[in-house]
């Protein structure tokens, strides 16, 4: 390793970017992209630039437990910032199984070194659920160590924890009934550090990097909803932002795949769309550099950013709405679309857990009959 003429820790981001061949213009373009991604006015761009110029590349330790690597794959699909800009210029990704060069003891040594050097300051990212403290620790190990031990050891010196993907955020697929391995979420275990949940199966690429950009730019975590998800990306339902919403309001639905309604882009509610009860950024940010998103490609939303979505009924079963005291209000509220949409949205918001037990299917036909 070289001897440094100047302590690299004192160099700002912009200075480092220039040294790495990134122009001032390129840097400002990144700042502008960050601002627009977070819906900030252009006047904020200089402030973002100034903040980034002061920033040291923060150490990030990424732990992968009971996961499928879909979340890492999604990270690599982000187009602003890109994964190469992220790992070379913006963060120091000191441990990441899928990408790091080192293996075995050398990999574990890199993790331990980063934890020592950045104690109290590193960002811990987790993908995948993990067998809880009461489960058999042999269900998931790395370097002979249980996931539970590794997480708790790494959390101790972390500034904050970001749970990427629905498995890390809410238990996800491993925790789906009957949860054969006693899988739990990060939030179930980490009580003394801030936890941000970036849910989705996987999360939208730009949402993963957007949360990191927020942290890098403002030095703190974004505002969260009751499930610890950043409001900037999980504040609105798919349904409220869906370009097919006008057809829902008019009562125009695809009845099956490839019928005239499906071809015309009508609402997928009757095919089981979970858009009304799902809070995520797919409808606004779309996927793969804005190429498309599930509903645009003709498939109903699976609801993958929501807790327990695997056990919330069939993917092709029209969404249930809660019954009970709210029903009278629901049925008196007016037009079919507004009723189901508004009530499902209100109810789903933060109360899915309590409501899940009393749901029953309510189809548009049933609603129409009762109205």
């Amino acid at each position: 390793m070289r001897v440094f003429e100047k302590n690299p820790l004192e160099k700002g981001l912009a200075e480092r970017l220039r040294e790495h061949g990134v122009s001032r213009r390129g840097f400002l373009k990144f700042c502008a992209a960050t601002a627009s991604m977070m819906a900030l006015p252009p006047a904020m761009i200089p402030a973002i630039a100034a903040a980034l110029e002061r920033a040291r590349r923060p150490s990030v330790i990424w732990l992968s437990f009971q996961e499928c690597t879909g979340c890492t794959e999604s990270l690599t699909r982000s187009h602003a910032p890109t994964v190469e800009d992220l790992i070379l210029d913006l963060i120091s990704l000191d441990y990441h199984h899928t990408l790091q060069a080192a293996a075995g003891e050398a990999a574990e040594a890199a993790r331990e070194q980063a934890m020592r050097d950045n104690h109290g300051q590193y960002l811990l990212i987790v993908d995948g659920s993990l067998p809880g403290p009461d489960a058999n620790p042999g269900y998931s190990t790395i370097a002979g160590v249980s996931n539970y031990s590794m997480l708790m050891e790494a959390v101790e010196g972390a500034a904050a924890v970001i749970a990427v993907g629905t498995c890390a955020a809410f238990g996800g697929l491993p925790a789906a009934a009957p949860n054969p391995t006693g899988a739990v979420s990060v939030m179930d275990l980490v009580k003394d550090k801030p936890v941000v949940n970036v849910s989705g199966c996987p999360p939208v690429p730009m949402v993963i990097t957007g949360v990191l950009a927020h942290f890098l730019t403002f030095g703190r975590l974004p505002e969260l909803d009751e499930y610890h998800r950043p409001l900037a990306f999980f504040g609105q339902s798919i349904h409220d932002r869906c370009y097919r919403r006008p057809f829902y309001d008019k009562g125009l639905f695809a009845e099956t795949f490839d019928d005239a309604g499906a071809r015309a882009g009508w609402c997928l509610y009757r095919l089981g769309c979970k858009g009304p009860s799902t809070y995520n950024a797919c409808a606004t940010m779309r996927w793969n550099a804005g190429t498309s998103w599930p509903i645009e490609a003709g498939h109903p939303c699976l609801g993958c950013a929501e807790p327990r979505f695997w056990d919330a009924g069939g993917f092709y079963v029209p969404l249930s709405v809660p019954t009970g005291p709210a029903s009278d209000y629901l049925l008196a509220a007016g037009a079919v679309g507004a009723v189901a949409g508004a009530v499902v949205a209100t109810k789903a918001r933060g109360r899915a857990k309590e409501e899940a037990a009393v749901r029953q299917p309510v189809t548009v036909e049933e609603l129409e009959q009762k109205l």
Partner: protein
């Protein structure tokens, strides 16, 4: 003096893999492959709606993100004898093709390259000489001295920052690295380019499946309708985007991936002499030319090669319960009929039994390899351990006289001055992956043209609705959904009763390749490959182990799955 080398975690793979190797001097005498994470997805599938199975199964793996979803959909279609519209088959082929090329390129540059490319050495390259080298092997436009100088500057700045991130603690300077600095710099530039390229390549699955990773599927066809007069269906604009992605994929394979593979392999001729241990290969076949699933129309043929004998292709039957069987004698599972029995996936059962089957209490230093030592089962074909994946497919195509394959293989062997037997090796496997990418990406253009021709002829159908409603299904049905995934032969077996999943078993490529020993102590493909002529220059830096293991492109979350109906007990899932 014998020593046990442990590499855990094996990084730059999908999932959680541990390798233990018993040394005999500098040689690896024996190796054991262990998958160290389990989720129990097959248990979770019990009792669910078979039409939902694809979404669960797809989450087996997010790297080969399409394959388990598609195998699940095909298992239901096989069970119910659902025929596909031609357009749906062609769209699926295009999505599979995109998966291959995307996966293989990312594997080569982001998972495998650092086994051969010394990033730190790139700092001492001469950008002008790098440019000359690049231009001598390819017409790829990003090849000027200025381009390589900028790339080198970026790398230098990164390394001088003192925060090495993902490159920290690599085995830089290891004597087994043989590339000159200029080749290292060129490869590093392409490492970064491939990261950018793959974002574009992933768009094809988003157009047809809504997103990538984890695009959407539907039993009976595809979810995206075709309508040239709609702004919300596959129309001329979307088709033009697909064509543009295919063109970009072909260009990258032709001008970057193929020339880089040949250039890098040329510096490592000794890696064509080790690393293929079993000599047995299997393919299920895939990529039908029409709507029917007739293996005669497949681009990739079906069959088994034994003992490296390319003159005899043995037939494979996925439904014959004496052919494909899984064993748990060295896995952390129990069978009702005893740990030494083999079960066909239709009868597949699995009970997690870490403590009872030899699992060592964490934290542990060493596995107990005399008993269970992995969450992977050991699948066998008629009792044979077989390798699956790119090498198996290229050998099968070569054996059957596929013209393009013959041409590509012969060109490779001639360029590298190698004999045919060099294919049976670590780099033979890596080269096969590159060559089949070329075959697939060329075929994609053909499927695209066929899709456009079909639409032009007036056929816009993408979905067969006749058996969508479970009320139309027989009370009991069972089926096998298979495909050639990028990593090899993949099968999902489903048993449906009363419209619900009664049993579900997946036997996946990395289970075939990374699985453990069987009751007669035959090793799996990784284990046999590592025992084939491997010397470690430095046991503290087992780079050689990484080379051979990475040549298989491990996907371990895929390989570990399971569980079953055990006592006929069904998990009741409340469906609202």
């Amino acid at each position: 003096m014998s020593e046990r080398i442990v590499v855990d975690p094996i990084t730059r793979i999908e999932g959680h893999l541990r390798i233990e190797a018993q040394m005999d001097g500098v040689n690896i005498a024996q190796a054991w492959s262990s998958g160290t994470m389990v989720r129990g997805i097959e248990t979770i599938l019990q009792g669910r709606d078979p039409r939902d199975a694809w979404a669960f199964a797809q989450r087996i793996c997010g790297v080969c993100t399409l394959v388990h979803g598609l195998a699940a959909v095909r298992s239901v279609e096989d069970a119910l004898a659902i025929e596909l519209p031609t357009n749906a088959q062609l769209i699926r082929n295009l999505m599979i093709g995109a998966q291959y090329v995307h996966d293989h390129v990312m594997h080569f540059y982001h998972l495998h390259a650092l086994d051969w490319v010394d990033v730190v050495s790139a700092l001492s390259a001469d950008p002008k000489a790098t440019s000359t080298l690049a231009q001598s092997i390819s017409g790829w436009s990003k090849s000027s001295p200025g381009y390589f100088s900028d790339t080198q500057k970026r790398l230098k700045g990164f390394i001088e920052s003192g925060q090495l991130g993902i490159f920290a603690n690599g085995y830089w300077g290891h004597p087994a690295y043989k590339l000159p600095p200029e080749a290292n710099l060129m490869a590093f530039a392409h490492y970064l380019e491939a990261l950018a390229w793959q974002r574009d390549a992933a768009r094809l699955q988003a157009i047809f499946g809504g997103k990538n990773p984890h695009p959407n599927f539907v039993v009976g066809g595809v979810a995206c309708p075709i309508d040239l007069n709609s702004d919300s269906a596959i129309n001329a604009k979307k088709l033009a985007e697909v064509q543009s992605v295919i063109a970009s994929m072909r260009q990258f394979v032709d001008q970057v991936y193929v020339p880089d593979t040949l250039a890098i392999a040329g510096f490592y001729p000794d890696w064509f002499q080790r690393g293929e241990g079993l000599g047995n290969f299997m393919c299920y076949g895939d990529l039908p030319a029409t709507g029917s699933a007739d293996p005669a129309t497949f681009l990739f043929p079906r069959g088994v090669i034994l003992n490296r004998d390319l003159t005899t292709i043995h037939e494979v039957d996925l439904h014959d319960d004496t052919q494909i069987q899984e064993f748990v004698s060295h896995a952390w599972y129990d069978y009702k009929g005893g740990k030494d029995t083999g079960l066909h996936p239709y009868q597949g059962e699995t009970r997690l039994d870490y403590d009872g089957r030899g699992g060592v209490k964490p934290p542990y230093q060493q596995l107990d390899v005399t008993d269970g030592y992995t969450w992977l089962k050991a699948p066998r074909w008629k009792g044979h351990a077989v390798e699956v994946g790119p090498l198996a497919r290229v050998l099968m195509l070569y054996a059957q006289g596929h013209a393009q394959t013959k041409e590509l293989v012969d060109m490779t062997l001639t360029t590298l001055k190698l004999e045919q037997r060099a294919l049976f090796s670590t780099l033979g496997r890596t080269a096969a992956r590159t060559l089949e990418s070329k075959i697939v990406v060329d075929a994609m253009q053909g499927w695209y043209d066929a899709l456009v021709a079909n639409i032009k002829a007036g056929d816009g159908r993408t979905f067969n609705e006749t058996l969508w409603d479970p009320a139309t299904w027989p009370r009991e049905a069972r089926g096998a959904g298979f495909m050639e995934a990028p990593r090899g032969a993949l099968g999902h077996w489903i048993v449906i009763k009363d419209g619900r999943i009664d049993n579900y078993q997946a036997v996946v490529p990395s289970t075939w390749n990374a699985g453990p020993r069987d009751p007669s102590n035959q090793p799996g493909a990784y284990e046999a490959a590592l025992a084939d002529n491997h010397q470690l220059a430095d046991v503290k830096q087992p780079l050689e182990i990484l080379r051979t293991i990475h040549s298989f492109d491990p996907c371990i979350a895929c390989a570990v799955h399971l569980v079953d109906p055990v006592t006929g007990e069904r998990i009741e899932v409340k469906v609202v």
